[in-house]
């Protein structure tokens, strides 16, 4: 129901503003500064508004995410970066009171079109959450979960191969190959998070969304995940929400700065952290608030 409703809303919204590309300047809001659009976009977002009931969480955000880039989203708490991220794989559908307006496309296909299959979308756009959330199953079953429900493996051998490959890509294989059939919840926090990453890449998504993937981890586990993100960016497009500016600086190619539900600045990461274009960005990265 909510999906249809939000899709309808979206239609009306796009009708109202057909030439969204032309200008980012909307009533009472200065435009996003910096390199917002890219030449080879994987995902394009235009004039996205997200509401929780009457409260608007995202104001008119437009941005492109390029193929195989790592884009970091930073900003103070409550600025809407997680909400924005969750609207990219329609996880906001699970929140009854949430509705999304505007246009979010992947490879030119509107994600909020009524006939779009959410199941297929979420197989193409994987997600890793803030707190490691392995299922209370064995390590093997955790990784095999996605391939099983999407029918990616015809035989047990295929499945074994997918599981091994995914665990290798998540650089967890060496640590768990001896105990694949033990509970995933028995791993350490960092290992659990890498298990969740392995679970996400087991269905070969095109985009991986990461919502503060390291916030519950210690520095060593964090370093491992960051290393992993760098390796994964060869094959996947990654959008990562983070509270740590150092992390954004270390792993991302571009950085987007959100402030009170608005997208203030998007620029190559080095530029954001050395000479930010917008005074709010500068204030945030120099630690004047946040």
């Amino acid at each position: 129901m909510t999906q249809l409703a939000s899709a309808d809303k979206k239609k009306r919204a796009t009708k109202a503003k057909p030439a969204a590309m032309k200008s980012l300047e909307v009533e009472g809001h200065e435009p996003t500064v910096g390199k917002v659009f890219t030449e080879n976009p994987k995902m394009t977002m235009r004039n996205v508004n997200v509401y929780y009931d009457d409260k608007q969480a995202i104001h008119d955000v437009s941005i492109d995410i390029a193929k195989n880039e790592v884009i970091a989203m930073i900003g103070p708490s409550g600025c809407g970066k997680s909400t924005f991220l969750r609207s990219l794989n329609r996880m906001n559908d699970t929140v009854d009171i949430c509705r999304v307006e505007g246009e979010i496309c992947m490879d030119g296909e509107n994600l909020y079109a009524p006939k779009l299959d959410v199941v297929e979308l979420r197989a193409r756009v994987g997600m890793v959450f803030q707190k490691p959330n392995p299922f209370p199953k064995s390590i093997y079953e955790n990784v095999a979960y996605g391939p099983k429900i999407h029918g990616l493996a015809d035989t047990r051998v295929d499945l074994d191969e997918i599981v091994e490959n995914s665990l290798r890509k998540a650089s967890l294989w060496e640590e768990v190959k001896e105990r694949l059939h033990q509970a995933g919840t028995g791993l350490s926090g960092g290992q659990q998070q890498r298990l969740c990453i392995a679970r996400a890449i087991a269905v070969s998504p095109e985009v991986i969304l990461m919502d503060e993937p390291c916030s519950a981890l210690d520095p060593i586990a964090t370093a491992k995940i960051e290393e992993l993100i760098e390796e994964l960016s060869e094959n996947f497009t990654i959008a990562i929400v983070t509270h740590s500016m150092q992390q954004a600086a270390r792993v991302s190619h571009r950085t987007a700065y959100f402030h009170l539900g608005r997208l203030i600045e998007v620029n190559p990461t080095e530029q954001v952290f050395t000479m930010p274009q917008h005074q709010l960005t500068e204030a945030y990265i120099t630690g004047r608030f946040g």
Partner: protein, 462 residues
Amino acid sequence: MQATNILILILGLGVLAFFLGRGRSLALAKPLGGIRKLHSLPSYYGMHVALWCALPSLFLLCMWMLFDDPLINRLVLDSVAAEIAPKDTASYNLLINKISNLADGILPRKGESAALIAAADHLVSLRVISRWSLTALLLTLSSLGLLWGWSRISASFRARPVVEKVMQNILLGCACLAIFTTLGIVLSVLFESIQFFRSVPIFDFVFGLEWSPQTAIREDQVGSSGSFGAVPLFVGTLLVSAVAMVVAVPVGLMSAIYLAEYASRSVRTYAKPALEILAGIPTVVYGFFAALTVAPFLRDLGASFGLSVSSESALAAGGVMGVMIIPFISSLADDVITAVPQSMRDGSLAMGATKSETVRRVIIPAALPGIVGGVMLAISRAIGETMIVVMAAGMAAKLTANPLESVTTVTVQIVTLLTGDQEFDSPKTLAAFALGLMLFTVTLLLNIFALHIVKKYREQYD
């Protein structure tokens, strides 16, 4: 004075003591520069005096109530004239009753012997003395307690730890009371059972295949030697409970899943209380519903298929019992399903699983130990359920696994053994205690098992 009046008086004195103690501590605090100079808050001083005033008196009152009747009775009987003096325990009790009834004016005094009238008068005078001495004693004790507590108050007196300690002990006492009551019930059932097992061997009872508790009253009576094999009863109980579970578990579980995972908030607000109304229907109503509506319906339905269904079938009783248990299972399952962290659902949905796949593959497995625990509790409820089976299941102890036939259950037999006038030393009556003990053991084991599973489940996500 009546015991209730005395009680009210003591409590009144306690309240007075509280305010006196509090007032004194406040008065002490004033010249010292406020209540911060006191060791404890003024209310603790008040509480301290109140406890000193009321607790010893209440304790004495309880003891007095426990022991004054036997003591007075003994005194009266020691003084009665020799011609009516009792010879054994039975006549002793009889005599005491008679004298006490005479004293209370329940029996008319006309026509009784002078010795009895004298004893009754003696009893009345002893009771009056007892009451007044009790009142005097309690008032003195309370006043002394009040004075003692009051005199101990000083700025450095540590009233708070004392009050805390006493409070803790009062709470402990209440907890012990509940435990000792349970223990008392278990022990009384146990002793009666042991008496039963003296006349019927325990092996015959636990493994015997025939149940007909009619015993001969005269030696020469035919065909009523009585046999006490509990197996048919337990088979009947298990059969009815199994039918109940077949109805309750799927329906309860699925409605729980619907309520927890699918229902919108507004549906949930109305549907959940509506389901819980089922739990509020008295079992006796379920009972006649089963006996008068469901059982005849099943019999007619069976007849139209050419099946012979007994008009008191296990199916009818079990089915209605299942309906009764649905809210029990659904609310327990609803709790454990809601307790599965949202991150599990998010994780599964983000993998592209549909809602039903998420429920089937992640939520149910994660909640399974809790659900099993709930089902176990429901089973022990079904086994102990009485009213529905008394009305809807049969009386004849038949050893069968066919739910279309009539069976009887342990609880039904206990009811039939104990209703009406019974002699309490025949094996027929004592059998009820043995059945009760066995039933208690079974449900206790099930409960322990269920609690164990539920406990294990709690450690799941951390």
